[in-house]
Symmetry: C2
């Protein structure tokens, strides 16, 4: 396996180097084929490095003092901060010094900078954000999760093609079932955009299975679920919100008496099993697809385990040659 | 308390009279101030009535053989089936023989028939579907859940006004916090419709608190959450799908060994407590708002307990004079 080089925006996210640096070291320990360039404030990063890593050739630090904050507008990120850690990480990909950039920073700024620096893929009009979501049996790829507030039918078709490639590369599905997210009532089924996208998908060579409703995503009815960024973002956040509310309500039920706490303690392996499957950290790492280079976005509030997972997603995408396949297949 | 008369479409839903009739009897037993007119096939309904209810003046049967099925198009429901149980139940409300109609039938047909028979409220352009959703601390009212695939800013303002009235009447909130459902990224925050609705709501006398994201609904950030029917339906179905997936995964974790099953059994009171709060039956009963009469829609697959809850929602809306308040307040 050839060496994979990740460019990591060490300053992005709510916790900055405190999370990104240890997660990066963890990845280097687990994957000997991998190298990392940490971009950010050298002193802060250096202070977090155990002695042996300070001289390891697989780890490089690229110093900069500028950071794109979560409040920075796209305009500020694009025009004012010419040496932000986010921008430099993307430039490393553009200059072919890294295979993929990973950032937990501001999504809007990351998408805008990525388009500006890496450029949109020639066969794609609008890049999208894609992530894996858990289903009853496994997982599915969903896009767009918020890169575009609306989409034309042709864009939804392009999203479907990209989702299909990622599902084949990463989830190893030979012929992923592609579906459009829609609502169920017969007579108001979908708006004009959805209906037209439905026809485009039927005529495409994809394994298009038609519409799924919101609950169908989690039943595992499709391997790729396509929607515009507004609907996708709402669906993603709703799913996170419900899961969190249920966890909190289970907690409250257990805390109601000492007897319940004891039973809750006995049930510890059950919670652990569930956590292993459902932990949001497991699903951290969304891909910006439709660019000429690979970019992975981590949740801003990611823990070390979650950021590690985003790095692992990035590594997997390089190893499975997602960009190569995108280039070859989308050109057709 | 004056008598409240409910017109119940006994034939609607997946289970028909087998669910609607016993649920109706349960309501009559619990609420002595309530009367019910069951609309449907007399023989089927009669067969389900214990002797004492056959002569009770609080229960009336209205016979018809026609039924709107879940596959019937709106056109069929409107034009062909002039004596469907759904239509007759709505006509009872229109003729002031009942205060509210309840049906578990086809949503599209119910909305179309309701608009046709009861007419849209003069201050409202488009009726909407509203339901209560559970939050971390309590519940919130959300609309539209699928009556309209899209909405103009003025429609969203009207939805907000209706949601505000229902929250005050039913949830007893004096000054409900009204929010627009939106996505979070600064630079792509909302489309033009949302932005314009945001301005309209800021200028309105409502207690408008701005945007909430998908996870904010379940954190209880607002008492009324407003969105178009496409987004609302996806959000509702996603929340149901995630809850069902989690329940199924917990089940699978418990079933993995006899020891886990034993612990799962000990945890029974915890599951019961959780079920009491989160049972979808508890949240069954969506209101069609913006009409000149009251209509409550039950889930098609509702169990007896769930259909009972839809009847209880209908009863509560009459007792709290939701239609009267709508008439008085929306006229202003």
């Amino acid at each position: 396996m050839a060496a994979v080089i990740l460019a990591v925006d060490a300053m992005g996210g709510d916790h900055g180097p405190g999370v990104t640096v240890p997660a990066s070291l963890e990845l280097l320990r687990s994957y000997p084929e991998c190298s990392i360039i940490l971009v950010g404030d050298e002193a802060s990063m250096h202070a977090l490095l155990p002695y042996r890593w300070r001289q390891d050739p697989r780890l490089r630090l690229l110093h900069t003092e500028e950071v794109v904050t979560s409040d920075d507008s796209v305009v500020v990120a694009l025009r004012k901060k010419k040496r932000s850690s986010m921008r430099l990480a993307l430039e490393l990909v553009e200059q072919a010094q890294a295979h993929v950039a990973v950032s937990a920073g501001n999504t809007g700024a990351l998408m805008a900078l990525a388009k500006n620096i890496l450029k949109t893929h020639p066969a794609i009009d609008r890049p999208a954000i894609l992530t894996a979501l858990p289903t009853q049996q496994g997982s599915c790829q969903m896009l767009d999760l918020g890169a575009n507030v609306d989409a034309q039918p042709e864009h939804l078709l392009q999203f479907a093609r990209m989702g299909d490639i990622v599902a084949r590369c990463l989830a190893g599905q030979e012929r992923p079932r592609v579906a459009l997210l829609n609502i169920g009532e017969e007579d108001i089924k979908g708006n004009e955009v959805i209906k037209k996208a439905h026809r485009l998908l039927q005529e495409s060579p994809l394994h298009y299975i038609g519409y799924v409703e919101g609950d169908g995503i989690f039943k595992g009815e499709a391997d790729v679920v396509v929607c515009d960024g507004f609907v996708g973002n709402i669906a993603l956040k709703v799913s996170e919100g419900v899961a969190r509310m249920l966890a909190q309500r289970i907690r409250a039920e257990i805390d109601r008496s000492w007897w319940r706490k004891a039973v809750g303690g006995l049930a510890w392996p059950i919670w652990q099993g569930l956590k292993r499957q459902m932990d949001p950290a497991l699903y951290n790492g969304a891909s910006l697809v439709g660019l000429r280079g690979l970019v992975v976005k981590s949740h801003g509030g990611a823990s070390q385990a979650a950021f590690y997972n985003a790095l692992a997603v990035a590594l997997r995408e390089v190893e499975h040659d997602v960009p190569g396949l995108m280039l070859r297949e989308l050109a057709q």
